[in-house]
Symmetry: C2
Subunit: 333 residues, 2 copies
């Protein structure tokens, strides 16, 4: 099938960009040096390619991502890099035929893990991003508390999310060092083999961590465009022009097909005016008469993770040919 | 079940607010004076309540909404208030056991409707919002063209989307009049029974239209809060505090649970700092120590339509008791 015959809006993956990104990352961080984050794509078919590239340990953000990965046979070593206190969900994770490690950052999360049969945890340390993670000085105490409850403590994680997008590389290096100094000190107090951190923006900078949790690299995000990384944009939306007026045209790709927290998407061959629930209004670069009803346009979302979460499937294309269809099977919680 | 026992993030509908909104609208615009827009909620169970309140004609934004409504037995009179040129989808709509009318605004959309067996159309007229809709002066010609292709022309629609959110009521009235003058003139050229327009912000102002396409009224949107309408906010997200730090706490309601085009949500009892993919970071009004891991918080999305489109189901609550669970069964395209 040709990409222009897909019903729209269609989430489209460029196979060549994807293969470039998989190859570049596997060369830089082979095997367990990378723990790919599946939250970026929520698609076990894509995770399978990451495993084929040598990465068998995965990072997840939700219980459902962990469950789906385990069911897909990708459960060698799954890290839920997020705090969860839901008994039912934790008990389900503990029952999976998979190695499951969950992040904890408090006595309450350690208690939830222990009482629901989880066997291994990672101490989540705040390294500067105001989100989850314990105070670095509290990591040792929490590791002791976890071990006292019978939990295996595999080490620490600490996501430098406030650094990964810093545009100037020298500043990114400096701020990563500051963040990882905190994580390294915490690790000295916790023990365990893993020092898990990093993202696409620091994948080749963060040498303190022994595994990097990058996810965006594989399909890439507009937000990372400015960092001169060796990864290429691989995700777009194919849309159809449904209305043409003097001065603007409208395509069928709106707010329910696009993560909007980073702002408007861009559109090839046009300038975006605004998005509505099911519409993208833009002016075509070629002026009036250059686009007709039925034309296809390519829309580039500003943030891929929440964009993908709206879609049921991805279409993989090689040039204009659709070569595979993947279910986005890890959506929800 | 208690709302606090739901797995989170959970989309929660307040039954009392919902019933207030259904009742207030049915009193103001009884029966066919309202053609509720299902794009707001994408849930046939909720549409069934709108039908029970007397509104048997519905507005849809996507082919899948039309198909789902027809399959749910709510196909008395379905308007697809959007332009579609996809042959497969139009042919499926034509084959439904339902009365289906589609919007057209060009020769190309008329041709698509005619060649795929659609029997009735509405001429979509641009009344000032730069989106779909023909030039008002072209409406008569398009109606003639549609009739020449054997299509029934039921009248006109023209959405004054640039007016519905205008805060000052007098200005809203004035601008609605300007927009509806265009629609009325177009209607004189097209004929047909229907003059379909309006939204929640103009439901009691737009007396030119003989049916109003409001959707947001039923669960209400933050964006409409300032208009002093008789509808109450009825949709929130129940989230769990998963991490507590000095200065802030984190709940499990992030970018993949929230439509973000209108900006950050608000949270009861706190001030939002930022959202990440699966997290909401906020400072609790009660200060440090006032919230603990496991506490439930209520998050109010800034825009409900794209929020709902992320969720598989809605939980209907009466006070803290969950009284029903509805599948959000009209998602996708």
């Amino acid at each position: 099938m040709n990409v222009h015959d897909l019903p729209t809006p269609a989430l489209v993956v460029d196979r060549r960009a994807l293969e470039n990104n998989l190859g570049a990352m596997a060369a830089a961080l082979p095997g367990p040096r990378l723990r790919p984050h599946v939250k970026a794509h929520k698609t076990t078919a894509l995770a399978r390619l990451q495993a084929a590239a040598g990465h068998h340990n995965f990072t997840c953000a939700t219980p459902r991502e962990v469950e789906g990965m385990a069911r897909a046979g990708l459960g060698d070593d799954l890290l839920l890099a997020n705090e969860v206190v839901d008994d039912d969900r934790l008990a389900r994770l503990a029952a999976l035929d998979a190695r499951v490690t969950v992040a904890v950052d408090s006595d309450a999360t350690i208690d939830a893990a222990a009482r629901n049969g989880i066997s291994e945890v990672l101490i989540d340390v705040n390294v500067g991003l105001p989100r989850c993670g314990c105070d670095p000085g509290d990591a040792g105490r929490l590791a002791d508390a976890a071990r006292a409850r019978g939990l295996g403590v595999r080490g620490v994680m600490g996501y430098e999310g406030h650094v990964v997008g810093v545009e100037d590389r020298a500043a990114r290096v400096e701020q990563t060092a500051v963040a990882m100094e905190l994580l390294t000190k915490a690790h000295a107090d916790t023990g365990g083999d893993l020092v898990s951190a990093g993202g696409t923006g620091t994948y080749d900078i963060n040498t303190w961590a022994n595994e990097i949790q990058a996810g965006s690299y594989v399909l890439m995000d507009g937000a990372y465009d400015k960092l001169a990384l060796p990864f290429r944009p691989g995700l777009s939306i194919s849309a159809t022009v449904v209305s043409v007026s003097p001065g603007w045209v409208v395509a069928d790709c709106g707010l329910k097909a696009l993560g909007m927290d980073h702002g408007n998407p861009t559109v090839s061959g046009g300038t975006v005016w605004f998005c509505s629930d099911e519409h993208l209004t833009f002016s075509p670069d070629g002026g009036d008469g250059s686009m007709r009803v039925g034309d296809r346009v390519t829309v580039w979302p500003a943030h891929i993770d929440p964009t993908i979460a709206y879609h049921e499937r991805m279409q993989v294309v090689d040039g204009d040919e659709v070569v595979e269809t993947w279910e986005v099977d890890l959506r929800g919680w």
